[in-house]
Amino acid sequence: MIGNFKHIGIATVAATLLAQGAAHAQDWPSEPVHVFVGFPAGSSPDTIARLVAEPLSQALGQPVVVENKPGAGGVIGVQQMLSQADTGHSFGVTINGPLTTSQRLVPDLSYETASDIAPVALIATSPLALTVPADFPADDAAAFIEEAKANPGDIAYGSVGQGSGAHLTAELFADAAGIELFHIPFQSYAEVTTSMLAGEIDAGFMAPSAALPFVEAGQLKMLGLTSAKPFPQAPDVPVLAGQAGIPDDFRAELWNAFIAPAGTDPAIIERLNTEINTILADEALQQKLLATGWNVAPGTTADLAARIEADTALWGKAIDLVEAKDQ
């Protein structure tokens, strides 16, 4: 019996050594790389992860396996990445929420972004578009704000959930414009669209890709974007910043990023950042991402770290606004 335990002990030590050895940069990656995504197959974070995973796998010479662990607005995916033992072969692609707002919105969250997550690279960003039905009595943001000022609290807008980017963006916009809007939460952009078409709600901050087909069909109008620069997928739509009293630095973007657990070898993170930036420079990939509603956003790990910090503060302010309203 004792002999058996010894064998198990030796095997465990050997396995641990192997696992640790695998995480060193020189011969990395020595086994398949896993990328955890907190959304189901076919969702936009999943599509982004898969578009990047394929060329990444060629560059690294090892399979890059996308694993969908959907739930809790992407939080489950991050948790799954953190719970893997083989640091150096487990990564994640996530939308901004789990890194910037979940700390405030999910009770008893099992991780701290600052201490548990190592940023690798920003992949792509998307603005939200202030969208209204075609028969709404305003054709630009200024007229919209005027309408809202004339009827405080009367304009009902839909979001994709309490605390979602669409909800918080609308609250930031209302605060910046000095207006009051009425929030009705939904669960998807499809539901927000249907409700707008049915005449139940008057507005919504939508992903441009979700609104565009309806804009082309003449059923919806996009009045302005929340990004700093115009968005290539909807080049005719102006940005909201600087319009009708909205501050010039008004910005609220969604993004997807490649992340690693804290403690991953910095050399591995650097290598991944370089590879991902090379992949993002590919014109064909840029077009594919744009078709799904995302604009590539290459940058260093420090850029991503700065983005996480700035957005945590930005969305934190929005959550404060919502909480103040609820009381």
Partner: protein, 494 residues
């Protein structure tokens, strides 16, 4: 393009050898995953998604669609033979399909389910072709108040399914409604009944609940040897053929089931599970002898199977004509289109007529193929019963675990299905009807979100339920349903 031109054009697209092969491949795969308890269309489509990046968008869509409607055929097989629904959509088929099998009419039950599925799908295609414009308009004019009122009526109408005492039925519906509350509240973001579990923030997984209540519970019951199914015999062709009486009983339920399924399929967010429950509930309501239900009534197989197949076809109406997916699987299919640079939306029909009409024709070809494939297979399916329990049931447990895990890659859900299974077994032993729990679970969240949304839209004025004509009609119908039994007693019998 007129409808006829479109269909002719679609025929050319769908009959291209490569498209045809992908369509049939999808349909066969769908049947297979449908038969396996727990593993459904969602799992198969998720696995196939990466492949679709490398084939044409038409081929990708007809294949994924084939899996989607093919699974509706397969789902009933295990429901009838083993009282183990292959998919949540066919859970209600166990209520009468399994008693039929026990009475030695497994062949007839399977035949009925296949023919009902085929009829439901074909009539569903007809509805899609003729009424798609009207259905799309309906889908975008339905407001939250209309949904809420309709679902309340559905809950009241279907709450008599299962043969338990009224108090026990009510208890099960309430437990189902409470189970549906688990997770993040849409309106306030508050966590309800999650006990601090991040895994419960999105609620209980429907597949885990259905497979636990029906699948695992049934396996436990069989360990006990409480109700072993009788020794199955070889099914001859003659045993498949329904009697003249069977056929007479089938026609009405198939037509009503198809209509109901067609309507619910086209409404985003409702879909095939609800339509199969309601089709069953409707048949029981209008039956002259409702006590026949639950004891092998052929209507109880024909109605839900035609409804869920019809719904699986008309579900493509909002998806393709509006770009609005009605359920997570439809969202997945739209994701597959987006990868090919096709943005689904109201202009899809005019910008990609090839795809739309090709898909519609492929539905017809795929369903015809499924019927031809499945009828001869009935004998083989029945022979599953000859596999000894000690081999069959462990295998079923493995499939259930695989299927539940495949939905969102969660080991937590596997433990859930185990726990729910034990609960389900206890409930069945105590003569409660788990079908009602599932009904409450499916309808509860829809009623709640839409009711509260309607109240938000009206700024707190409940009159919205009477002012909107559709909502008002459903409210009146619900009241009539509730007072009808009382009226029936007061009016003296002739």
């Amino acid at each position: 393009m007129t409808t006829l031109e479109g269909l002719a054009h679609g025929l050319l697209v769908a009959l291209q050898p490569s498209i045809l092969i992908y369509s049939l491949l999808g349909a066969v795969l769908g049947t297979l995953v449908g038969v396996l308890p727990g593993i459904g269309a969602m799992a198969a489509i998720t696995l196939l998604l990466p492949i679709t990046y490398h084939i044409s968008s038409e081929a990708a869509l007809v294949m994924l669609a084939g899996v989607y409607y093919g699974a509706q055929y397969g789902g009933a097989v295990a429901s009838i033979l083993l009282r183990l629904p292959g998919t949540p959509q066919s859970a209600v088929t166990t209520l009468d399909g399994y008693p039929m099998a026990q009475q030695g009419r497994a062949g007839v039950a399977l035949f009925t389910s296949m023919v009902s599925s085929f009829a439901g799908a074909m009539l569903g295609i007809l509805i899609l072709v003729v009424l798609s414009g009207w259905l799309a308009g309906m889908a975008t004019s339905f407001g939250a108040a209309d949904y809420a009122a309709m679902m309340v009526m559905g809950l009241v109408a279907a709450s008599t399914i299962g043969n338990s005492r009224p108090v026990k039925s009510l208890a099960m519906v309430v437990v189902g409604l409470i189970a549906g509350c688990i997770g993040t509240d849409v309106n306030s973001g508050v966590q309800r009944l999650t006990f601090g579990q991040t895994q419960l923030l999105d609620g209980i997984n429907l597949v885990a609940l259905a497979m636990g209540l029906f699948g695992v519970a049934e396996v436990i019951a069989n360990i006990q040897g409480a109700d072993r199914h009788g020794p199955p015999s070889r099914v001859s062709l003659r045993q498949l053929i329904p009697t003249r009486d069977d056929v007479r009983r089938m026609v009405g339920p198939i037509l009503r089931g198809t209509g109901l399924g067609g309507l619910f399929g086209a409404l985003p967010g409702t879909g095939s599970t609800i339509s199969s429950f309601l089709a069953y509930g409707l048949e029981r309501r209008i039956a002259r002898k409702p006590e026949r239900f639950g004891n092998g009534a052929i209507e109880g197989v024909a109605a839900p199977e035609s409804a869920n197949n019809s719904a699986s076809i008309t579900a493509f109406v909002p998806t393709l004509t509006l770009g609005i997916p009605g359920d997570p699987i439809m969202a997945l299919m739209l994701g597959a289109l987006v990868i090919h640079g096709i943005q689904p939306g109201p202009t899809l029909l005019t910008s990609h007529p090839d795809m739309f009409w090709g898909l519609v024709v492929s539905f017809g070809i795929g369903n015809l193929f499924l019927l031809v494939l499945n009828l001869p297979l009935i004998g083989i399916w029945v022979s599953i019963l000859r596999i000894p329990f000690r081999w069959l049931y462990p295998a079923i447990i493995v499939f259930i675990c695989l299927g539940v895990y495949s939905v969102r890659g969660s080991t937590f859900d596997i433990f859930m299905v185990g726990g729910i299974g034990i609960t389900g077994y206890a409930l069945t032993r105590a003569a409660f009807s788990p079908a009602l729990l599932l009904l409450g679970f499916v309808l509860g969240p829809l009623i709640e979100t839409n009711l509260r949304r309607a109240m938000l839209v009206s700024r707190g004025d409940a009159m919205i339920f009477l002012e909107r004509p559709v909502a008002c009609a459903f409210v009146v119908a619900t009241v009539l349903l509730l007072i009808w039994p009382v009226v029936k007693r007061i009016i003296p019998k002739r």
